[in-house]
């Protein structure tokens, strides 16, 4: 009675513990990300390619000095990507022909709402912060570079020339600065305010508003609103996105969704295989056992039959012997009587 009650209470507490786990904000496995997260809107129609953002980024993150100075315009002549020395780069695209006005596009981590790098990292070195930044923790990084593989935007870079503690290098959206209430370095430095910092939702509103207000200046799409499940860095441009080096074939599937199916099969295999294989094993064993038993039986009655034959043969043999003996005796008696008769008949005459 009392014991059962105590059990019951135990159960309750257990249930309580379970409910203490974080609960799911959105239902049916659909997630809309952190509602108040920050982001940056890059309006390429305003960018003049002055590379102040690159300079500021370099200073704020005290990265090594660039190979060519930031005010060297020739740098823009080739299309670059981010590397271990530059979290962000500005590229020039002569979409209006060599004579026409070029378009500049800033490249850096887009801070996905569902980061591929985080989904890929097997030490959980990447975290999507509620503030919107995707941050990296070098203190646990093993250096497998799966994050570099996974990133659909080819952003993370690796310190290939460090022997002892190579790190993955990528934009942090100046997470520490934002935490202090400062602006990201690049945003603060942009003279044209081509970079707008703010709540992601507001940024989308701004972008839409600009497109609505200047329909002939913008392409009616906000890059990053839906791409790979949405990014906190957004872009609006006047030239088709693919001409500015944007991947327009990335789709809207968030990275974790790509692998969730496969990962879901893991427990199934763990659950079913042992039982299945064990079963097969038992069956095969059983087959063998039965086979053995049958063999044994066969041998047994083979032995019996031969035994019977042997007995019969013996019996017959003894019979025969007996008969012959009797005959011999009879014969002997008869002979004796005859001899006796012969002797009495010869004395009278």
């Amino acid at each position: 009675m009392s014991t059962s009650r105590r059990k019951f209470l135990k159960w309750l507490t257990a249930a309580g513990a379970a409910s203490a786990l974080p609960s799911v904000a959105e239902g049916h496995g659909h997630f809309t990300g952190y509602s108040d997260s920050y982001g940056v809107l890059h309006d390429t129609t305003l960018c003049v390619g002055c590379r102040s953002c690159e300079k500021a980024c370099n200073e704020v993150n005290d990265l090594p000095a660039p190979d060519r100075p930031f005010d060297d315009p020739t740098v823009l002549s080739d299309v670059r990507r981010t590397d271990e020395k530059a979290y962000t780069v500005v590229n020039r695209y002569d979409v209006n022909g060599p004579s026409g006005s070029p378009v500049f596009r800033k490249l850096q981590c887009n801070h996905c709402k569902e980061p591929a790098c985080a989904s890929a990292c097997f030490v959980g070195a990447f975290t999507k912060t509620p503030e919107g930044a995707v941050v990296y923790d070098a203190s646990v990084c093993v250096g497998c570079r799966y994050c570099l593989m996974a990133c659909p935007f080819d952003i993370p870079a690796y310190e290939y020339n460090k022997a002892l503690e190579p790190r993955v290098m990528k934009c942090t959206m100046c997470h520490p600065r934002v935490a202090e209430g400062k602006l990201p370095g690049c945003v603060e430095a942009c003279p044209m305010e081509a970079l707008t910092f703010g709540k992601r939702d507001d940024l989308i509103t701004i972008a839409r508003e600009r497109i609505r207000k200047y329909p002939d200046r913008y392409i009616d799409h906000v890059y990053g609103e839906t791409e790979v499940g949405g990014t906190n860095w957004l872009y609006i441009t006047g030239a088709p996105f693919e001409t500015l080096g944007f991947r327009t074939d990335l789709g809207v599937t968030p990275a974790p969704e790509l692998t969730s199916g496969a990962l879901a099969m893991v427990p199934v295999v763990i659950g079913v295989w042992p039982a299945l294989l064990g079963g097969i094993y038992i069956m095969s064993q059983r087959k063998e056992k039965i086979a053995n038993q049958e063999k044994a039986a066969a041998v047994k009655d083979a032995i019996n039959t031969t035994q019977a034959k042997a007995d019969a043969a013996l019996k017959a043999a003894t019979e025969k012997a007996k008969n012959e003996k009797d005959k011999a005796v009879e014969k002997a008696v008869k002979k004796a009587l005859d001899d006796a008769a012969k002797q009495t008949g010869g004395g009278e005459a």
Partner: protein, 390 residues
Amino acid sequence: MADEPMVVERPLLSKFNVIAGLIILVGLWLTFKRFTGGLGAVSNLDHSNPWGIWIGFDLLCGVALAAGGYTTAAAVEIFNMKKFHAAVRPAILTGFLGYSMVVFALLYDVGRPWRLPYPFAVNQGVTSVMFEVGACVALYLTVLFLEFSPVALEWLGAKKIRAVVVRLTILLTILGVVLSTLHQSSLGAMYLLVPSKLHPLWYSPYLPVFFFVSSIAAGLSMVIFEGSLSHRFFKDKMDDEHRKSANDIVLGFGKGCSMVLAAYFAIKVFGLALGNNWNLLGTGYGLWFMVEMLGFVLLPCLLYAIGVREKNVTLIKWTALWTVLGIVINRLNIVLICFNWQLPADQRYFPHWMEIGISVFVITVGIVVFRFIVTRMPIFFEHPDYKEAH
């Protein structure tokens, strides 16, 4: 007698020893470079091509080809195909060494190898397919070690412990199959994350299944292939039972592999239909895909079948080699050749000779250890004290 081969001795400065020695010396030098100068000093890896032949060849191919271990063990221990019994120990050994080499190579590829336990000890990134691969490989390596340990124990003559381990055989085998199923497929699942970088003809939601099924084919072929090699080089180490059953094994595994390849071909075609990528077959990559599918899946499948029907052991052995080659090509396609296919040619990856050097070094070490073991321990023959013990 069965144990007389053990007394056969080889000259220390044999051709093999000299070459192996040289390779290992170079390897050690490269190792020094790698761990003083960083990955950049010995490889052509860069930000856009973070994975090279160490992952593409040593890891992916290594794991696939080491699948002989669990396939053979499953065949004999679980499906109770006693006639393949002689193949188990060599297969387990190759499996064990194969996985050891994979981990060995990983020590070079990974930025901070001493942190390899972190994913399990420090911070568990369970959302990563790689976490699962890592866990399974680690566990499976242990399993293989245990499965292999009786051999060493027999050699050392530790009867008691051996007995304990042998009693666990079936459990270990089952566990081995579970783990292999998981990580073989998950190696494919790792590439589910890169639809934008892997050519659509090779990218498919079926990738895990492709990898798992092809790994079985690879495993079986490997057993046949290295079986035939062993027969060339270690004949003197083999007892009669081993020699006698050799052809049974080749024919049996050949038949099995043929069926697996047929299934593999089928699901690859289904995958093509699933992605509706028929139109891509016309392109250059499409042709390459056809070469892989027809030349290295369908062809060996048929050759195996012919070989089995005609009891043509030689053909099967050659086909085994061909199949192994095919799997290697498939893995290389996914990691290197058809990865980053959209990048301009000058941004594509080609291995640095030092990378290849380290790969060769790793393989050589593997072979040397294999040779050391088979020349001393009861792999190709039954230890006299344990006749009929398993």
